[in-house]
Protein backbone atom coordinates (compact mmCIF):
# COMPACT_ATOMS: atom_id res chain seq x y z
CA UNK A 1 0.00 0.00 0.00
CA UNK A 2 1.46 3.35 -1.03
CA UNK A 3 2.17 6.02 1.54
CA UNK A 4 -0.13 9.05 1.51
CA UNK A 5 1.51 12.11 0.01
CA UNK A 6 -0.07 14.14 2.74
CA UNK A 7 -2.38 13.38 5.63
CA UNK A 8 -3.79 15.40 8.48
CA UNK A 9 -5.57 14.02 11.53
CA UNK A 10 -7.57 16.07 14.04
CA UNK A 11 -5.74 19.36 13.43
CA UNK A 12 -6.45 22.29 15.69
CA UNK A 13 -4.63 25.59 15.29
CA UNK A 14 -5.11 28.62 17.51
CA UNK A 15 -3.74 32.12 17.00
CA UNK A 16 -3.56 33.63 20.48
CA UNK A 17 -6.80 32.21 21.86
CA UNK A 18 -8.77 32.27 18.60
CA UNK A 19 -9.40 28.98 16.84
CA UNK A 20 -8.26 29.46 13.24
CA UNK A 21 -8.68 25.82 12.21
CA UNK A 22 -10.26 22.85 13.94
CA UNK A 23 -11.22 19.24 13.24
CA UNK A 24 -9.10 19.06 10.10
CA UNK A 25 -8.64 15.50 8.88
CA UNK A 26 -8.03 14.39 5.31
CA UNK A 27 -5.69 12.36 3.12
CA UNK A 28 -4.08 13.08 -0.20
CA UNK A 29 -2.64 10.41 -2.48
CA UNK A 30 -0.22 10.56 -5.39
CA UNK A 31 -1.82 12.15 -8.44
CA UNK A 32 -4.58 13.95 -6.53
CA UNK A 33 -5.36 17.50 -7.65
CA UNK A 34 -7.11 19.37 -4.88
CA UNK A 35 -8.49 22.87 -5.05
CA UNK A 36 -8.86 24.53 -1.64
CA UNK A 37 -11.60 27.15 -1.64
CA UNK A 38 -13.32 29.17 1.03
CA UNK A 39 -13.99 32.74 2.12
CA UNK A 40 -11.28 35.17 3.24
CA UNK A 41 -10.04 34.32 6.73
CA UNK A 42 -11.22 30.73 6.47
CA UNK A 43 -7.75 29.37 7.25
CA UNK A 44 -6.64 28.26 3.77
CA UNK A 45 -3.12 29.72 3.92
CA UNK A 46 -2.75 28.66 7.55
CA UNK A 47 -3.58 25.08 6.56
CA UNK A 48 -0.87 25.10 3.89
CA UNK A 49 1.66 26.52 6.33
CA UNK A 50 0.82 23.71 8.74
CA UNK A 51 1.43 21.16 5.98
CA UNK A 52 4.86 22.67 5.32
CA UNK A 53 5.85 22.92 8.97
CA UNK A 54 5.95 26.72 8.80
CA UNK A 55 3.39 26.71 11.63
CA UNK A 56 2.86 24.10 14.33
CA UNK A 57 -0.62 22.76 15.14
CA UNK A 58 -1.88 22.98 18.72
CA UNK A 59 -3.41 19.54 18.35
CA UNK A 60 -3.38 16.78 15.79
CA UNK A 61 -0.78 15.28 13.47
CA UNK A 62 0.42 15.94 9.94
CA UNK A 63 2.33 13.54 7.78
CA UNK A 64 4.22 14.63 4.65
CA UNK A 65 5.28 11.59 2.60
CA UNK A 66 4.89 9.58 5.81
CA UNK A 67 7.03 11.91 7.93
CA UNK A 68 6.16 14.76 10.30
CA UNK A 69 6.97 18.14 8.66
CA UNK A 70 9.48 18.97 11.43
CA UNK A 71 11.44 15.80 10.64
CA UNK A 72 10.91 15.93 6.86
CA UNK A 73 14.16 16.31 4.91
CA UNK A 74 13.25 15.44 1.30
CA UNK A 75 12.15 18.95 0.39
CA UNK A 76 13.04 18.32 -3.26
CA UNK A 77 9.74 16.44 -3.37
CA UNK A 78 7.81 19.62 -2.54
CA UNK A 79 7.34 22.77 -4.61
CA UNK A 80 5.76 25.76 -2.88
CA UNK A 81 4.47 29.08 -4.11
CA UNK A 82 3.47 31.38 -1.24
CA UNK A 83 0.46 33.68 -1.50
CA UNK A 84 2.66 36.74 -1.61
CA UNK A 85 6.25 37.24 -0.73
CA UNK A 86 6.00 39.44 2.32
CA UNK A 87 9.62 40.47 2.18
CA UNK A 88 9.68 40.89 -1.59
CA UNK A 89 11.85 43.87 -2.36
CA UNK A 90 11.01 45.46 -5.73
CA UNK A 91 14.66 46.46 -6.06
CA UNK A 92 16.00 42.98 -5.34
CA UNK A 93 19.01 42.74 -7.68
CA UNK A 94 18.75 39.06 -8.67
CA UNK A 95 18.09 37.98 -12.26
CA UNK A 96 15.22 35.63 -13.10
CA UNK A 97 17.57 32.62 -13.51
CA UNK A 98 19.09 33.29 -10.06
CA UNK A 99 15.65 33.33 -8.45
CA UNK A 100 14.49 30.15 -10.21
CA UNK A 101 17.76 28.44 -9.18
CA UNK A 102 16.73 28.91 -5.54
CA UNK A 103 14.02 26.31 -6.17
CA UNK A 104 16.80 23.75 -6.67
CA UNK A 105 18.43 24.25 -3.27
CA UNK A 106 16.43 21.36 -1.85
CA UNK A 107 18.18 19.01 -4.30
CA UNK A 108 21.66 20.06 -3.19
CA UNK A 109 24.11 18.87 -0.59
CA UNK A 110 26.74 21.13 0.95
CA UNK A 111 27.97 23.50 -0.30
CA UNK A 112 25.02 24.24 -2.57
CA UNK A 113 26.18 25.09 -6.09
CA UNK A 114 24.33 25.60 -9.39
CA UNK A 115 25.69 23.31 -12.15
CA UNK A 116 25.25 23.16 -15.93
CA UNK A 117 22.60 20.47 -15.44
CA UNK A 118 20.77 22.91 -13.21
CA UNK A 119 20.91 25.52 -15.99
CA UNK A 120 19.10 23.05 -18.23
CA UNK A 121 16.45 22.41 -15.54
CA UNK A 122 16.01 26.17 -15.10
CA UNK A 123 15.60 26.68 -18.87
CA UNK A 124 13.04 23.85 -18.95
CA UNK A 125 10.95 25.47 -16.22
CA UNK A 126 11.20 28.88 -17.90
CA UNK A 127 10.12 27.40 -21.25
CA UNK A 128 7.17 25.72 -19.54
CA UNK A 129 6.08 29.09 -18.17
CA UNK A 130 6.89 30.83 -21.49
CA UNK A 131 9.39 33.24 -19.93
CA UNK A 132 12.73 31.99 -21.26
CA UNK A 133 13.26 35.33 -23.02
CA UNK A 134 13.43 37.18 -19.68
CA UNK A 135 15.85 34.82 -17.91
CA UNK A 136 18.52 37.50 -17.55
CA UNK A 137 16.15 40.31 -16.56
CA UNK A 138 16.01 41.53 -12.98
CA UNK A 139 12.98 40.25 -11.08
CA UNK A 140 12.20 43.75 -9.84
CA UNK A 141 11.88 45.10 -13.38
CA UNK A 142 9.15 42.65 -14.40
CA UNK A 143 5.38 43.10 -14.37
CA UNK A 144 3.36 41.46 -11.58
CA UNK A 145 2.24 38.68 -13.92
CA UNK A 146 5.79 37.97 -15.08
CA UNK A 147 7.06 37.95 -11.48
CA UNK A 148 4.35 35.46 -10.59
CA UNK A 149 5.40 33.20 -13.46
CA UNK A 150 9.02 33.37 -12.30
CA UNK A 151 7.95 32.28 -8.82
CA UNK A 152 5.88 29.45 -10.28
CA UNK A 153 8.95 28.36 -12.28
CA UNK A 154 10.92 28.40 -9.02
CA UNK A 155 8.28 26.15 -7.43
CA UNK A 156 8.35 23.56 -10.24
CA UNK A 157 12.03 23.62 -11.24
CA UNK A 158 12.97 20.74 -8.91
CA UNK A 159 10.25 18.61 -10.55
CA UNK A 160 8.49 18.08 -7.22
CA UNK A 161 6.07 15.25 -6.50
CA UNK A 162 3.83 17.60 -4.51
CA UNK A 163 3.11 21.13 -5.65
CA UNK A 164 1.50 23.53 -3.18
CA UNK A 165 0.30 26.80 -4.69
CA UNK A 166 -1.34 29.62 -2.75
CA UNK A 167 -3.40 31.80 -5.09
CA UNK A 168 -0.97 31.45 -7.99
CA UNK A 169 -3.13 33.10 -10.64
CA UNK A 170 -4.04 36.39 -8.95
CA UNK A 171 -1.55 38.46 -10.97
CA UNK A 172 -2.07 36.61 -14.27
CA UNK A 173 -4.16 37.83 -17.19
CA UNK A 174 -6.92 35.48 -18.46
CA UNK A 175 -4.76 33.99 -21.24
CA UNK A 176 -1.82 33.34 -18.92
CA UNK A 177 -4.22 31.92 -16.33
CA UNK A 178 -5.68 29.40 -18.78
CA UNK A 179 -2.21 28.44 -19.96
CA UNK A 180 -1.06 28.06 -16.37
CA UNK A 181 -3.94 25.75 -15.49
CA UNK A 182 -3.15 23.78 -18.66
CA UNK A 183 0.46 23.40 -17.49
CA UNK A 184 -0.71 22.18 -14.08
CA UNK A 185 -3.07 19.73 -15.75
CA UNK A 186 -0.26 18.31 -17.83
CA UNK A 187 2.04 18.00 -14.78
CA UNK A 188 -0.75 16.23 -12.94
CA UNK A 189 -1.72 13.88 -15.75
CA UNK A 190 1.63 13.16 -17.38
CA UNK A 191 3.94 13.17 -14.35
CA UNK A 192 1.39 12.34 -11.62
CA UNK A 193 2.39 15.45 -9.69
CA UNK A 194 0.08 15.86 -6.70
CA UNK A 195 -1.28 19.38 -6.61
CA UNK A 196 -2.83 21.49 -3.87
CA UNK A 197 -3.99 24.88 -5.05
CA UNK A 198 -5.72 27.64 -3.10
CA UNK A 199 -7.86 29.82 -5.29
CA UNK A 200 -10.90 32.04 -5.29
CA UNK A 201 -11.45 31.15 -8.94
CA UNK A 202 -13.71 28.19 -8.23
CA UNK A 203 -14.97 28.14 -11.82
CA UNK A 204 -11.48 27.59 -13.25
CA UNK A 205 -10.37 25.12 -10.63
CA UNK A 206 -13.58 23.19 -11.09
CA UNK A 207 -12.50 22.48 -14.65
CA UNK A 208 -9.22 20.90 -13.63
CA UNK A 209 -9.12 19.70 -10.02
CA UNK A 210 -10.14 16.17 -9.16
CA UNK A 211 -11.28 17.21 -5.69
CA UNK A 212 -12.40 20.31 -3.88
CA UNK A 213 -11.80 21.10 -0.26
CA UNK A 214 -14.15 23.79 1.02
CA UNK A 215 -12.71 25.31 4.15
CA UNK A 216 -14.31 27.65 6.63
CA UNK A 217 -12.19 27.15 9.76
CA UNK A 218 -13.13 23.47 9.44
CA UNK A 219 -13.61 21.25 6.42
CA UNK A 220 -17.11 21.93 5.13
CA UNK A 221 -16.73 19.73 2.09
CA UNK A 222 -14.07 17.45 0.62
CA UNK A 223 -14.83 15.50 -2.52
CA UNK A 224 -15.43 15.66 -6.26
CA UNK A 225 -16.76 18.77 -7.98
CA UNK A 226 -19.98 17.08 -9.08
CA UNK A 227 -20.76 16.03 -5.53
CA UNK A 228 -19.93 19.55 -4.39
CA UNK A 229 -22.40 21.02 -6.86
CA UNK A 230 -25.03 18.51 -5.88
CA UNK A 231 -24.63 19.16 -2.17
CA UNK A 232 -26.44 21.87 -0.31
CA UNK A 233 -23.11 23.37 0.80
CA UNK A 234 -22.59 25.06 -2.52
CA UNK A 235 -25.82 27.04 -2.31
CA UNK A 236 -25.28 27.81 1.37
CA UNK A 237 -21.86 29.28 0.85
CA UNK A 238 -22.01 30.79 -2.61
CA UNK A 239 -25.72 31.52 -3.00
CA UNK A 240 -28.03 29.78 -5.44
CA UNK A 241 -27.25 32.16 -8.28
CA UNK A 242 -23.48 31.59 -8.00
CA UNK A 243 -24.05 27.88 -7.64
CA UNK A 244 -26.02 27.84 -10.85
CA UNK A 245 -23.36 29.82 -12.74
CA UNK A 246 -20.40 27.81 -11.42
CA UNK A 247 -21.97 24.38 -11.76
CA UNK A 248 -23.47 25.16 -15.14
CA UNK A 249 -20.09 26.44 -16.31
CA UNK A 250 -18.49 23.27 -15.05
CA UNK A 251 -21.07 21.08 -16.81
CA UNK A 252 -20.43 22.89 -20.06
CA UNK A 253 -16.68 22.22 -20.01
CA UNK A 254 -15.75 19.29 -22.20
CA UNK A 255 -13.00 16.97 -21.06
CA UNK A 256 -13.36 17.88 -17.39
CA UNK A 257 -11.12 15.88 -15.11
CA UNK A 258 -13.78 15.68 -12.46
CA UNK A 259 -15.05 12.33 -13.66
CA UNK A 260 -11.68 10.61 -13.52
Amino acid sequence: MSVDVLSAEGLLFRHNSTEVLKDISFRLQAGDYVGIVGPNGSGKTTLIKLFLGLLQPNEGTISLFGVQPSAFREWRKVGYLPQRITSFNPHFPAAVREIVALGLLSTKGFPKRVTRDDDRAIDKALILLDILDIKNDLIGELSGGQQQRVLIAKAIVSEPELLILDEPTTALDPDAREKFFGTLQSLNEMQRVTIIIITHDIGSIGKYASRLLYLDKRIVFYGGFDAFCASGDMANYFGEHSQHIICHRHDSQPGSLIDR
Partner: protein
Protein backbone atom coordinates in the same frame (compact mmCIF):
# COMPACT_ATOMS: atom_id res chain seq x y z
CA UNK B 1 54.53 64.27 -0.85
CA UNK B 2 53.50 62.13 -3.85
CA UNK B 3 51.78 58.76 -3.85
CA UNK B 4 55.03 56.81 -4.22
CA UNK B 5 56.40 58.50 -1.10
CA UNK B 6 53.18 57.76 0.73
CA UNK B 7 53.30 54.10 -0.26
CA UNK B 8 56.82 53.78 1.08
CA UNK B 9 55.51 54.26 4.62
CA UNK B 10 54.89 50.99 6.41
CA UNK B 11 51.88 52.30 8.32
CA UNK B 12 50.22 53.40 5.04
CA UNK B 13 50.88 49.99 3.47
CA UNK B 14 49.41 48.25 6.50
CA UNK B 15 46.37 50.52 6.51
CA UNK B 16 45.75 49.96 2.77
CA UNK B 17 46.05 46.17 3.00
CA UNK B 18 43.96 45.69 6.14
CA UNK B 19 41.44 48.33 5.04
CA UNK B 20 40.91 46.72 1.63
CA UNK B 21 40.25 43.27 3.07
CA UNK B 22 37.85 44.67 5.67
CA UNK B 23 36.09 46.76 3.00
CA UNK B 24 35.48 43.67 0.82
CA UNK B 25 34.15 41.75 3.81
CA UNK B 26 31.84 44.61 4.87
CA UNK B 27 30.51 45.11 1.32
CA UNK B 28 29.86 41.39 0.82
CA UNK B 29 28.10 40.88 4.13
CA UNK B 30 26.38 44.26 3.88
CA UNK B 31 24.71 43.27 0.59
CA UNK B 32 22.85 40.48 2.37
CA UNK B 33 22.04 42.67 5.38
CA UNK B 34 20.67 45.52 3.24
CA UNK B 35 18.48 43.18 1.17
CA UNK B 36 17.38 41.35 4.30
CA UNK B 37 16.30 44.77 5.69
CA UNK B 38 18.60 44.15 8.59
CA UNK B 39 21.08 46.95 7.84
CA UNK B 40 20.86 48.57 11.24
CA UNK B 41 22.11 45.48 13.03
CA UNK B 42 25.61 46.70 12.12
CA UNK B 43 24.94 49.99 13.87
CA UNK B 44 23.40 48.27 16.89
CA UNK B 45 26.26 45.80 17.27
CA UNK B 46 28.76 48.63 16.85
CA UNK B 47 27.21 50.25 19.91
CA UNK B 48 27.55 46.96 21.77
CA UNK B 49 31.20 46.89 20.65
CA UNK B 50 31.63 50.16 22.56
CA UNK B 51 30.48 48.32 25.69
CA UNK B 52 32.75 45.37 24.86
CA UNK B 53 35.79 47.61 24.38
CA UNK B 54 35.01 49.32 27.69
CA UNK B 55 34.90 45.92 29.40
CA UNK B 56 38.27 45.04 27.86
CA UNK B 57 39.86 48.31 28.94
CA UNK B 58 38.32 47.98 32.40
CA UNK B 59 39.63 44.43 32.84
CA UNK B 60 42.91 45.37 31.14
CA UNK B 61 42.65 42.73 28.42
CA UNK B 62 43.02 43.42 24.69
CA UNK B 63 39.68 45.17 23.88
CA UNK B 64 38.99 43.08 20.77
CA UNK B 65 39.17 39.86 22.81
CA UNK B 66 36.57 41.21 25.22
CA UNK B 67 34.38 42.69 22.48
CA UNK B 68 34.12 39.56 20.30
CA UNK B 69 32.20 37.29 22.73
CA UNK B 70 30.10 40.17 24.06
CA UNK B 71 29.04 41.29 20.58
CA UNK B 72 28.39 37.71 19.43
CA UNK B 73 26.18 37.02 22.46
CA UNK B 74 24.37 40.32 21.91
CA UNK B 75 23.66 39.43 18.27
CA UNK B 76 22.11 36.15 19.42
CA UNK B 77 20.15 38.17 21.99
CA UNK B 78 18.71 40.30 19.17
CA UNK B 79 17.57 37.16 17.33
CA UNK B 80 16.02 35.73 20.50
CA UNK B 81 14.18 38.99 21.24
CA UNK B 82 12.69 38.97 17.72
CA UNK B 83 11.73 35.31 18.04
CA UNK B 84 10.51 35.06 21.61
CA UNK B 85 9.38 38.56 22.58
CA UNK B 86 7.39 39.09 19.37
CA UNK B 87 9.04 42.34 18.41
CA UNK B 88 10.37 43.66 15.14
CA UNK B 89 14.09 43.55 14.44
CA UNK B 90 14.57 47.33 14.71
CA UNK B 91 13.12 47.38 18.25
CA UNK B 92 15.31 44.45 19.32
CA UNK B 93 18.40 46.14 17.84
CA UNK B 94 17.47 49.38 19.65
CA UNK B 95 17.20 47.62 23.00
CA UNK B 96 20.48 45.72 22.72
CA UNK B 97 22.45 48.63 21.27
CA UNK B 98 21.35 51.12 23.94
CA UNK B 99 22.16 48.54 26.61
CA UNK B 100 25.66 48.17 25.13
CA UNK B 101 26.24 51.92 25.09
CA UNK B 102 24.90 52.30 28.64
CA UNK B 103 27.20 49.57 29.98
CA UNK B 104 30.16 51.18 28.18
CA UNK B 105 29.44 54.60 29.64
CA UNK B 106 29.01 53.19 33.15
CA UNK B 107 32.31 51.31 32.95
CA UNK B 108 34.14 54.33 31.49
CA UNK B 109 32.74 56.45 34.27
CA UNK B 110 33.65 53.91 36.96
CA UNK B 111 37.21 53.47 35.66
CA UNK B 112 37.75 57.11 34.89
CA UNK B 113 41.15 56.65 33.26
CA UNK B 114 40.69 55.13 29.84
CA UNK B 115 38.60 57.72 28.03
CA UNK B 116 41.40 58.55 25.58
CA UNK B 117 41.80 54.86 24.58
CA UNK B 118 38.07 54.54 24.17
CA UNK B 119 38.10 57.61 21.92
CA UNK B 120 40.45 55.87 19.46
CA UNK B 121 38.04 52.94 19.19
CA UNK B 122 35.05 55.24 18.75
CA UNK B 123 36.55 57.05 15.76
CA UNK B 124 39.03 54.51 14.39
CA UNK B 125 42.80 54.51 14.01
CA UNK B 126 43.62 52.54 10.89
CA UNK B 127 46.93 54.41 10.43
CA UNK B 128 48.06 53.06 13.80
CA UNK B 129 47.31 49.44 12.95
CA UNK B 130 50.09 46.98 13.84
CA UNK B 131 51.58 44.23 11.66
CA UNK B 132 49.92 41.57 13.83
CA UNK B 133 46.56 43.31 13.43
CA UNK B 134 47.02 43.38 9.65
CA UNK B 135 47.66 39.64 9.58
CA UNK B 136 44.66 39.04 11.87
CA UNK B 137 42.48 41.26 9.63
CA UNK B 138 43.49 39.38 6.48
CA UNK B 139 43.02 35.93 7.99
CA UNK B 140 39.68 36.79 9.60
CA UNK B 141 38.39 38.57 6.48
CA UNK B 142 39.30 35.62 4.24
CA UNK B 143 37.75 33.20 6.71
CA UNK B 144 34.48 35.13 6.93
CA UNK B 145 34.30 35.67 3.14
CA UNK B 146 34.89 31.91 2.77
CA UNK B 147 31.96 31.16 5.08
CA UNK B 148 29.75 33.57 3.10
CA UNK B 149 30.84 31.82 -0.12
CA UNK B 150 29.97 28.40 1.33
CA UNK B 151 26.48 29.55 2.35
CA UNK B 152 25.97 31.96 -0.57
CA UNK B 153 22.77 30.36 -1.92
CA UNK B 154 21.19 29.91 1.51
CA UNK B 155 21.91 33.57 2.35
CA UNK B 156 20.49 34.63 -1.01
CA UNK B 157 17.38 32.50 -0.42
CA UNK B 158 16.59 34.00 3.00
CA UNK B 159 17.33 37.49 1.69
CA UNK B 160 14.76 36.98 -1.06
CA UNK B 161 12.04 35.24 0.93
CA UNK B 162 12.58 33.47 4.23
CA UNK B 163 9.33 31.52 4.17
CA UNK B 164 9.93 30.00 0.74
CA UNK B 165 13.51 29.27 1.72
CA UNK B 166 12.30 27.28 4.72
CA UNK B 167 9.92 25.33 2.50
CA UNK B 168 12.83 24.35 0.24
CA UNK B 169 14.70 22.84 3.16
CA UNK B 170 16.95 25.80 4.02
CA UNK B 171 17.54 25.80 7.78
CA UNK B 172 16.56 29.42 8.12
CA UNK B 173 17.12 29.60 11.86
CA UNK B 174 20.70 28.40 11.45
CA UNK B 175 21.38 30.72 8.51
CA UNK B 176 19.99 33.73 10.41
CA UNK B 177 22.23 32.83 13.35
CA UNK B 178 25.20 32.52 11.00
CA UNK B 179 24.40 35.91 9.47
CA UNK B 180 24.32 37.76 12.80
CA UNK B 181 27.46 36.01 14.07
CA UNK B 182 29.30 36.95 10.88
CA UNK B 183 28.09 40.52 11.37
CA UNK B 184 29.35 40.52 14.96
CA UNK B 185 32.85 39.46 13.95
CA UNK B 186 32.90 41.90 11.03
CA UNK B 187 31.85 44.82 13.20
CA UNK B 188 34.57 44.10 15.76
CA UNK B 189 37.12 43.69 12.98
CA UNK B 190 36.08 46.92 11.26
CA UNK B 191 36.19 49.11 14.36
CA UNK B 192 39.92 49.78 13.87
CA UNK B 193 39.26 50.98 10.32
CA UNK B 194 36.51 53.57 10.67
CA UNK B 195 35.68 53.43 14.35
CA UNK B 196 32.67 52.15 16.24
CA UNK B 197 30.56 55.18 15.35
CA UNK B 198 30.96 54.74 11.59
CA UNK B 199 31.07 50.97 11.04
CA UNK B 200 27.50 50.70 9.77
CA UNK B 201 28.38 53.06 6.89
CA UNK B 202 30.86 50.47 5.58
CA UNK B 203 28.16 47.81 5.71
CA UNK B 204 25.40 49.91 4.12
CA UNK B 205 26.84 52.49 1.70
CA UNK B 206 28.81 50.25 -0.72
CA UNK B 207 25.88 47.84 -1.25
CA UNK B 208 23.30 50.62 -1.73
CA UNK B 209 25.66 52.32 -4.22
CA UNK B 210 26.01 49.03 -6.12
CA UNK B 211 22.25 48.45 -6.06
CA UNK B 212 21.77 51.69 -8.04
CA UNK B 213 23.69 50.44 -11.06
CA UNK B 214 24.20 46.68 -11.15
CA UNK B 215 22.30 43.75 -12.62
CA UNK B 216 22.49 40.39 -10.90
CA UNK B 217 23.29 39.44 -7.33
CA UNK B 218 26.93 38.43 -7.78
CA UNK B 219 27.60 41.62 -9.73
CA UNK B 220 26.09 43.63 -6.86
CA UNK B 221 28.53 42.04 -4.40
CA UNK B 222 31.50 42.59 -6.73
CA UNK B 223 30.56 46.22 -7.40
CA UNK B 224 29.91 46.90 -3.70
CA UNK B 225 33.33 45.45 -2.84
CA UNK B 226 34.96 47.63 -5.52
CA UNK B 227 33.24 50.76 -4.16
CA UNK B 228 34.26 49.83 -0.60
CA UNK B 229 37.92 49.22 -1.49
CA UNK B 230 38.25 52.39 -3.60
CA UNK B 231 36.67 54.44 -0.81
CA UNK B 232 39.10 53.02 1.74
CA UNK B 233 42.18 53.57 -0.47
CA UNK B 234 41.17 57.10 -1.46
CA UNK B 235 40.09 57.83 2.11
CA UNK B 236 43.49 56.84 3.51
CA UNK B 237 45.36 58.98 0.94
CA UNK B 238 43.07 62.00 1.21
CA UNK B 239 42.94 61.94 4.99
CA UNK B 240 46.72 61.68 5.25
CA UNK B 241 47.31 64.42 2.69
CA UNK B 242 44.72 66.79 4.13
CA UNK B 243 45.26 65.86 7.77
CA UNK B 244 41.69 64.67 8.23
CA UNK B 245 40.32 61.83 10.39
CA UNK B 246 40.65 58.68 8.23
CA UNK B 247 37.43 56.90 9.28
CA UNK B 248 35.23 59.92 8.65
CA UNK B 249 36.93 60.61 5.30
CA UNK B 250 36.28 57.01 4.16
CA UNK B 251 32.62 57.33 5.08
CA UNK B 252 32.22 60.70 3.31
CA UNK B 253 33.84 59.27 0.16
CA UNK B 254 31.48 56.30 0.33
CA UNK B 255 28.57 58.70 0.53
CA UNK B 256 29.90 60.69 -2.44
CA UNK B 257 30.10 57.44 -4.43
CA UNK B 258 26.49 56.74 -3.54
CA UNK B 259 25.44 60.25 -4.51
CA UNK B 260 27.30 59.94 -7.83
CA UNK B 261 25.74 56.62 -8.85
CA UNK B 262 22.33 57.75 -7.62
CA UNK B 263 22.42 60.88 -9.79
CA UNK B 264 23.89 58.88 -12.69
CA UNK B 265 21.12 56.30 -12.33
CA UNK B 266 18.41 58.96 -12.33
CA UNK B 267 19.87 60.80 -15.32
CA UNK B 268 20.41 57.65 -17.37
CA UNK B 269 16.76 56.59 -16.87
CA UNK B 270 15.34 59.91 -18.06
Amino acid sequence: MDIVDLLSHGFIQRALIAGSFIAILCATLGTFLVLRRFSLIGDGLAHVTFGGVAVGLFLQVYPMYAAIPIVMLSSLGILKLVEKARMYGDAAIGIVSSLGIACGILLASAAGGFNIDLFSYLFGSILAISRAEVVASIILSLLLIGVIWLFYHELLAISFDEESAKATGVRTKGINTLLVLLTSLTVVLAMRLVGIMLISALLILPPVSALQVTRGFRMTIITASFVGVVSVILGIFVSFAADLPTGATIVILNFLFFLGVFVYGKLSHR
